[in-house]
Amino acid sequence: MNNNRLILIGLLIPAILMIPFSIVSFYTDFANRNPDPLSVTVDFGQNAYNAVEGKKAFEQYQCTGCHTIVGNGAYFAPDMTTVYKRIGENDAALSNFVLSGAPAKGMPPMRDRGMKEDDAYRITAFLKYTNMLDTNGWPGAGSWERDGNPDSTPAQNLDFSDIWQVVAGIVFINILIFAILFAYENKKNDEGA
């Protein structure tokens, strides 16, 4: 029973502490100054689109399957938290980019995936909202700042003529791994004999 009491203490103390910590995280007097997503909107034509609809569209089209948002997601494509700033706070340019994609860099035109203009506008509102988040300074001042244009560097494919450093690395690391393997297997054989 002593063991179980130990486990119970280990569970209950931090679990109870999580309650005030979670309250502090969202109680507005302490929490970071994040905007209300309902009040963040972008205007296209006659309509205003808000960031809450945008969040749902962002999830539905599985944007984090390639991108990251606040650093969470996949690392195939750049982080989207501050993309609104990088593209010069240009709503039309951002929604156009979402719809037409960058096929050479691996991004399908979202139009082909069934995305309508409305959803692209909603996602633009969502990205405007994430740009306003107080993320304790992440992702770093100066990093990824650009002139308001999408990244113009073309994607390259692997060039086999210039990889000797990596080949050397592969050989070196695998000699180390095989040393572990042989040391383990031989030690066992000695014990067995």
Binding site: N3, F21, A31, Q60, Y61, V70, D79, G106, R113
Partner: protein, 465 residues
């Protein structure tokens, strides 16, 4: 181990767990295939848009199939280990079959909705990392897992033996993994709150609930294979579990540095997650001590390989590789880079994959009545997995360091940094291919062991049922 065949006839429901392990290892093969295609996408980016399945769908399935086979492996292991510990057969043996087909059906549903409904229906595809499966599948999965917990608790309540700590830990882990699925299902307008509670699912699964299941299963396997005194193993287990919870629950804070939550988490998360490797080291230490003290010869060497591998993989992959980038001062630069990817490809296969294969190698030979199976394929498969994954991990780690320096320190654009990383992504693909060969060999071996049966014993078992 030697009592295998006797316990088979004593607890006939054990034979039903075989399909869980076979399905788990086959799903793992599919997951690796998806990973290989994705690593090709990294090398030639336009292949993502030219192939029928784009990167995001492959990535979603890569994660969701992993969760599914992990759950299948754990549930199979739970049903396999429970009867001996409680001294009685599973309460509702028919549920074991039904749950298996139900979970498999959910898996097929997830695959179909990812391929055909991504972007078209929020109820079928939700697209949040690790929770890509839509609401419909979330709810069905919760229902399926609840019925597993019901079956486990019903069995434990009518236990003939006194409740042992490993069983309590396993049950707590199973209940915890279902309870923690719920916060991820609540809709929040704010991305901050949504991410806050999405991490409750992901973090409290892999760093609390699943970790409890892993600790419990390792303890039970050591109990079954060695002659170390039960009190020693249980004492160590209790200390490990208490420490895992004490550090892991507030260690959650390392996900809250940069998502828009207050700075208090930078202190809390940094402090508690720096302590998280301690219980993982204790797991290595106790397993080492137990195996050294043990005088009983261990016949099933493959299980031994997997268990030692799992404890070391857990400590180095989850503990050290996590500690490398868990401190906020470091994580500010490494968050969202390939370093996280390196950590994930060390911690998850290093702990949970080896553990599931370990239980499979414990269970399937006994269930199939083939305790003296030839072990060289399992050993070679283990080493191929180790070599493959270590190559992948090291390649990703080097790629991550370069990415952090160029992108986060020097401020280069994303695409030009990715072009620099290409050779390392090539290295990662080589590692993936080696690991894939190991996975194939182990799957082939397990299926081979499970299909060749000793006929007489099989008939006896059938009569008992």
């Amino acid at each position: 181990m030697t009592r295998g065949l006797e316990t088979m006839s004593e607890y006939p429901s054990k034979i039903k767990t075989r399909k869980y392990f076979i399905a788990a290892i086959l799903l793992f093969i599919v997951q690796m295939l998806l990973g290989l295609v994705m690593s090709v996408n990294f090398l030639a980016r336009d292949s993502s848009t030219n192939l029928p399945l784009t990167f995001d769908i492959l990535k979603a399935l890569h994660l969701n199939l992993m969760v599914l086979w992990l759950l299948l492996g754990f549930i199979g292991g739970l049903y396999y280990l429970l009867p001996v510990e409680t001294g009685r057969d599973i309460k509702h043996p028919r549920l074991i079959d039904m749950q298996f087909w139900f979970l498999l059906l959910i898996g097929i549903g997830i695959i179909i909705s990812e391929i055909f409904f991504t972007g078209r229906n929020w109820w079928l595809v939700e697209g949040r990392e690790y929770l890509e499966a839509g609401r419909v599948w979330d709810l069905l999965l919760t229902a399926g897992l609840l019925s597993v917990v019901y079956n486990v608790i019903a069995t434990i309540l009518e236990s003939k033996n006194k409740l042992s700590s490993p069983i309590l830990v396993l049950a707590a882990g199973a209940i915890g993994s279902i309870l923690m699925y719920v916060p991820g299902e609540i809709w929040f307008d704010s991305i901050v709150a949504a991410e806050y509670f999405r991490w409750w699912v992901v973090h409290y699964w892999v760093e609390a609930s699943f970790e409890l299941i892993a600790a419990g299963v390792i303890a039970l396997i050591l109990l079954a294979m060695t002659q170390v005194r039960r009190e020693i193993i249980e004492k160590y287990l209790a200390i490990e579990v208490a420490l895992i919870l004490l550090t892991g629950i507030i260690g959650q804070g390392h996900h809250y540095y940069w998502i828009g939550t207050p700075g208090v988490w930078i202190f809390l998360g940094g402090l508690f997650s720096a302590l998280q490797p301690v219980p993982l080291f204790l797991m290595v230490w106790s397993a080492y001590k137990d195996l050294k003290e043990n005088k009983k010869p261990i016949l099933n060497k493959v299980v031994l390989y997997m268990i030692i591998g799992a404890t070391i993989g857990n400590f180095v992959g989850a503990g050290l590789w996590g500690f490398l980038h868990t401190l906020p001062q470091i994580n500010f630069f490494t968050h969202g880079t390939q370093i996280t990817s390196s950590h994930a490809h060390f911690a998850t296969p290093g702990t949970y994959l080896l553990l599931v294969i370990g239980i499979a190698y414990l269970a399937i030979p006994e269930i199939s009545g083939k305790l003296n199976f030839s072990q060289y394929r399992g050993k070679i498969g283990f080493w191929l997995l180790v070599i493959g994954f270590l190559n992948m991990i090291i390649a990703l780690m080097i790629a991550g360091v370069i990415q952090v320096y160029q992108q986060r320190v020097e401020g280069l654009g994303f695409m030009s940094v990715q072009n620099t990383l290409l050779p390392y992504f090539g290295w990662r693909l080589i590692g993936g291919l080696i690991a894939f060969a190991g996975g194939l060999l182990i799957a082939y071996d397990l299926i081979l062991i499970s299909t060749i049966k000793v006929k007489v014993e099989r008939n006896n078992i059938n009569k008992e049922i």
